[in-house]
């Protein structure tokens, strides 16, 4: 988004007059690992959703959870707090 702005487009003092536009900024582009969710093991406790520092875990319609890779930085906190081993596994970005 900001790539298109010239210096003439900026508000005085670079004030951002559009509230909440940080949602448009992808923060997931320096991630090296990503969480992979396994619905077969997940017990829908929601701890991953609660602990994610970037609110990058989304609740699906069926009550399970998945990651929003637009924001996920790959910190691994979700895997760390998950009480069911294997429900969330961090994998290298290079792996498919």
């Amino acid at each position: 988004m900001t790539k298109k702005l010239t210096w003439r487009d900026l508000e005085v003092g670079n004030i951002v007059t559009e509230p909440g536009n940080s949602a448009e900024r992808g923060t997931g582009d320096w991630r090296t690992e990503r969480p992979v969710f396994d619905k077969g093991i997940c017990i829908k406790c929601g701890l991953c959703w609660l602990h994610c520092p970037d609110s990058a875990i989304k609740i699906l319609d069926d009550g399970y959870y998945d990651v929003d890779l637009f924001y996920c930085k790959g910190c691994g906190i979700c895997e760390n707090v998950c009480p069911k081993k294997g429900a969330i596994v961090m994998v290298e970005e290079e792996e498919k």
């Binding site: 702005l5 210096w7 003439r8 005085v12 003092g13 670079n14 509230p19």
Partner: protein, 399 residues
């Protein structure tokens, strides 16, 4: 009726701040600026000035509090000196980059170490590149006038940039002179109420001070640079209107007895008044010498400066600080650079003097004029010379 009263520059500044009817003062006392916040605190406590006086725990906090005050639309004042400005340094950049208009008075002081509470220009030169509008007062009346003018131009919607008014520590801050205080009504007509266009408002949320990734930071800096350069017209217009209203006229580059002058001396701040006496005496002896004084330091008045010195053969620059390992005086470095591309330019000779409160008496200015012409005539082997330093100095040459 306006009235003529005896005031030190510190108290003249406090009177200007009171007449400007500021809303918020956040300042931390430090020699030689102390009398300014002291008097303002008194005014607030005695009900002479209806403002919030925030007694902060440091200069860093003082200017930080000022940022918040401007963000809610308050007319805001702070003041510091020397080490205080250094402690404030980080926030100095923030204030100008966020385009928060306010006035800050610096009672110019040397920098430690060794500890010195006395005057020179090391403090202001350390914030030269921070993007503030920077002016110098030569006497107490100017200190008063420039504070009023500072609010007027800083708050102009086409400027929205903070103004730093420099006055020499002790030489002005603690010296009593006659100052003309105008009628409050006249001040009110010169200085309309402050309407900051981006006042924080929960009904219309905005982000002040957002971060900038590499893909936008360059644009933010160019926008700031363009705004500072374009502010010059408004600064001049502000001085024009000030002159029309108060009868005292200010220019970005002040000139004194320059008619036909072959040699010009360049000073800033209070040294200018002593230099005038020396120029008068030399003119009476038939010497073709004149004086140029930079009132506006940032944005640098290139056009007016080049115009002022173009007929001279020699330009002698007197700095009150050293840019270590560089060309000596930062002001001289600046003016040399400003003249470099000119087809006809004077020989520029650099002196440093008045460091850490060392007096520059009339005879010292006389020495600078004589020695400067001598050096210009035979070509300068040294980058700069220090007035009155004990012990021979050699080896200050191009590295």
């Amino acid at each position: 009726m306006s009235c003529r009263v005896a005031l030190e520059a510190s108290h003249a500044v406090a009177e200007a701040v009171r007449m400007a009817d500021v809303d918020v003062i956040a300042a931390y006392p430090i020699t030689p600026q102390t009398h300014i916040p002291e008097r303002l605190a008194e005014m607030v406590a005695d009900g002479e000035l209806s403002a919030a006086y925030i007694p902060v725990e440091s200069e860093h906090s003082a200017l930080s509090a000022c940022l918040g005050a401007v963000a809610v639309g308050a007319r805001t004042f702070t003041t510091t000196a020397g080490q205080g400005l250094e402690l404030m340094h980080e926030v100095v950049y923030v204030a100008s980059s966020m385009r928060y208009p306010m006035v800050m008075v610096i009672a110019n002081r040397a920098l430690s170490a060794p500890l010195s509470v006395w005057g020179d220009h090391s403090d202001v030169m350390s914030v030269r590149d921070t993007g503030w509008i920077q002016v110098f007062a030569q006497n107490n009346q100017e200190a008063f006038d420039l504070v009023l003018w500072g609010f007027r131009v800083a708050e102009d919607s086409r400027v929205l940039t903070p103004v730093m008014v420099n006055l020499d520590g002790f030489t002005l801050s603690h010296v009593t002179e006659a100052v003309i205080l105008p009628e409050q009504e006249v001040v009110n007509s010169f200085l309309p109420p402050f309407h900051y266009p981006f006042v924080l408002n929960p009904d219309k949320p905005a982000t002040h001070g957002a971060f900038a990734a590499p893909d936008i930071y360059t644009e933010t800096k160019i926008s700031q640079e363009v705004a500072l350069r374009k502010s010059k017209d408004i600064l001049l217009q502000g001085w024009q209107e000030f002159g029309d209203m108060f009868g005292r006229h200010y220019r970005p580059v002040e000139i004194y007895r320059v008619e036909g002058a072959k040699t010009l001396l360049l000073t800033m701040g209070s040294f200018t008044e002593t230099a005038k006496m020396v120029i008068d005496a030399r003119r009476d002896r038939g010497e073709l010498v004149g004086l140029v004084s930079l009132r506006l330091w940032r944005p640098f008045p290139f056009t007016e400066f080049r115009q002022a010195v173009k007929e001279a053969d020699t330009l002698i620059v007197l700095d009150r600080s050293i840019s270590f390992g560089g060309q000596g005086g930062p002001v001289c470095s600046e003016v040399r650079s400003a003249l470099f591309s000119e087809p006809k330019r004077p020989v520029v000779v650099s002196f440093v003097g008045g460091l850490g409160g060392r007096d520059m008496a009339e005879e010292d200015f006389g020495y600078v004029l004589d020695r400067g012409r001598e050096v210009a005539a035979k070509g300068s082997p040294e980058l700069f010379e220090t007035v009155g330093v004990r012990g021979e100095v050699s080896g200050i040459r191009d590295l």
